[in-house]
């Protein structure tokens, strides 16, 4: 079974379209939980044990109507939860059509379905969802605007240590983890990769 045939450019376009539709006023932090539950009608729920027992932060159901989050993560790590929700929405937007063609049709096929996707294809789809989530929660233009308003310029390949005070501010502005913000700044050429 082949993975989804989407380029990273497609992922970028999907993220831009998503933001135009669901956050037209450029609200920050991006109200991803409100978008998921109140606009897209996705049932977000918290369940105990999925992180500790299974090692997953969350998942989207095979009918793409529910996002389940580990309840400890949900309460203790709201930034991480926001990213997981954005990531799972990414799967819905990018991969639902693929899943409807290749996905689960019978309960008994469940193991079979996952064994048919190669590790490489699965990981690529995960990277696509991850990229989508990063672009949605830290949109390119809004990230650059934050630098412009604070520094009067957009840094190019600077050391992250030099931008540390702004970096800390931006964690609150975008309500994401340091890892996500750093990755987005590297991708946008704002800071050097360590």
């Amino acid at each position: 079974m082949n993975g989804v045939a989407l380029s990273m450019d497609d992922v970028h376009q999907a993220a831009s379209k998503f933001l135009e539709e669901h956050n037209p006023t450029n609200q920050l932090p991006i109200p991803i939980e409100e978008i998921a539950e109140l606009k897209l009608g996705i049932f977000v729920l918290a369940t105990p044990g999925i992180k500790k027992l299974i090692g997953i932060d969350g998942f989207i159901s095979s009918d793409f109507s529910q996002i389940t989050i580990d309840d400890y993560c949900f309460v203790k790590y709201p930034e991480r939860t926001r990213f997981t929700i954005a990531h799972e929405i990414g799967h819905k937007i990018l991969h639902q059509d693929w899943y409807s063609k290749h996905g689960l049709t019978d309960f008994g096929d469940y193991h079979d379905f996952f064994s048919k996707i190669s590790e490489q294809d699965y990981r690529y789809m995960e990277i696509q969802a991850q990229t989508f989530a990063g672009l949605v929660l830290v949109p390119t233009e809004l990230l650059k605007n934050e630098f412009k308003s604070r520094l009067g310029r957009i840094p190019i390949n600077e050391d992250v240590e030099i931008l540390q005070p702004i970096f800390n501010d931006l964690l609150t502005t975008f309500k994401v983890s340091g890892e996500v913000l750093y990755r987005r700044m590297v991708k946008e050429g704002i800071v050097k990769k360590i």
Partner: protein, 126 residues
């Protein structure tokens, strides 16, 4: 109406009301001091609602259900009619299938092995 439908309707009633008021799960629990896991279990119909009047009144107030209104009566009826029913801890395959993960987020983006998938199925079947 069988017991499962009654329980199901309570969860759907609860969630529809919360969403109609513009509350996300987080916002609702934060505003009224509820545990997100418990509210999720109520809304998923795997926890039968309490019949303790004060608890139910607390929910009704949080959901802005006007006392003695038709909705108030429905809300309490749904809660009371589930008293003594067995929670939906055993679902049929079709129900489980719809909630099984299409994709799941692991730390490294790897697939789960068969053992972990079985554990996950057991966990979400309850």
């Amino acid at each position: 109406m069988n017991n499962n439908e009654i329980t199901k309707n309570f969860g759907i009633f609860f969630r529809d009301r919360r969403v109609a008021l513009g509350f996300t799960l987080r916002a609702f629990c934060k505003r009224f001091g509820y545990d997100p896991g418990n509210i999720s279990r109520l809304e998923r119909n795997i926890l039968t609602p309490s019949v303790d009047e004060n608890i139910l009144k607390g929910y009704a107030k949080a959901l802005q259900i006007e006392q003695d209104s038709p909705e108030w009566v429905t809300f309490f009826d749904l809660a009371y009619t589930t008293k003594g029913t067995i929670p939906l801890d055993i679902r049929n395959n079709q129900q489980i299938m719809s909630v099984l993960p299409a994709f799941y987020r692991t730390a490294r983006g790897d697939k789960l092995d068969k053992k972990k998938i079985n554990e996950l199925i057991n966990l979400i079947s309850k």
